[in-house]
């Protein structure tokens, strides 16, 4: 009798565990939504493309909600799925579509006057070169750059998300940064 009760108890606990993990993954998704939006922005997606990406990610969250993972693993998985989805959009070359003059105009509109005096003047031509360079940057380089410099993760964390060694991440970051810098220099833009 005790054995049967114990068995029932275990099953109930398993069921409760399943339910709580389902809730947890969706909770983590909503909690990390700001970070995921940041990734979409880092890949230069439009608001509508970003929305599509996050919708797809939320569906994947539902599909995977039965899995038992730690909070950190959930975050890593969410980031990875979002990056892969963003890369798919990037391959369609719809990323970094915003025109330079629009970026500068919006920037001028949103910045407050006291800050503007302290800021360096952004040259439209230089910005355009970097925008085009980002658009052409290889997938393998873009992901690490966005995560390292826009999402403020270190090389180890980037490696864990992308399934790379920290040293590989560092070498890709070096490569990407030098490509961007040299394109500026090639176009005659000095420091």
């Amino acid at each position: 009798m005790n054995g049967i009760n114990a068995d029932i108890e275990i099953r109930l606990k398993q069921r409760a565990g399943e339910k709580s993990s389902k809730l947890k993954l969706m909770d983590v998704f909503y909690a990390e939504l700001g970070c995921l939006k940041r990734i979409a922005a880092g890949f230069g997606l439009s608001a509508s493309d970003g929305e599509d990406v996050l919708q797809d990610v939320s569906i994947k969250v539902l599909e995977r909600s039965g899995e038992n993972r730690t909070h950190q693993e959930y975050i890593r998985w969410l980031t990875k799925v979002t990056i892969n989805r963003c890369l798919t959009e990037h391959r369609r070359r719809r990323s970094y579509y915003r025109q330079t003059h629009e970026i500068l105009k919006r920037r001028a509109e949103t910045k407050t006057k006291p800050n503007r005096t302290d800021e360096k003047v952004i040259n439209a031509e230089e910005l355009e070169i970097v925008r085009q360079s980002m658009q052409k940057l290889d997938d393998s380089l873009l992901g690490p750059v966005v995560l390292r410099y826009f999402c403020d993760l270190n090389s180890k964390e980037v490696g864990e998300i992308l399934g790379l060694k920290a040293s590989t991440v560092r070498s890709r970051l070096r490569e990407a940064r030098l490509i961007l810098a040299k394109r500026l220099l090639e176009r005659g833009v000095g420091p």
Partner: protein, 170 residues
Amino acid sequence: MEKSCEKIEEMLVDYADGQLSTRDSKKVAEHLEKCEHCRKILGALHKSLELTGVIWADGLAETKDIRAPIPLKHRKIPWSGYAAGAACIILLLTTSIVWRALIRPAEKEINFADIERSITEAGNAARLLAATELLAEYPDAQTIVKQQYRYIVETYPETTAANKAKLKIQ
């Protein structure tokens, strides 16, 4: 570009990010003092990252408009529930139709011909009543007058004239 520049270039990104050891950092700094080429690269590294930040910030401002996705659930369609609901609706409709047919008395529909007939009858009865009342003024015609009143009551029972004729008979 000198051979030493190639080695320094490899370290420049980490130097710019402040990721180098003190020893390597010092080595790069010493090289930069005498090498304009590497100084330019370092400057371009800073500038490109700064400009990339501008692009990212612009993208981030746009992502604020992104609505939180409402996950589409892959739900199983509860066919048995739908079938039970449909059966209930059909049963209710059938019962309602049968009840209306059997229990509820059929309402007589009024059509134009009936209305016309009622008006004609009322008119005829009124004319007959008026004529009878004129006749009633003659004392010799009282028997005929009574017969006329009865005729109005029997022939046009639902008219106002028939009601008045009833009163005359009484």
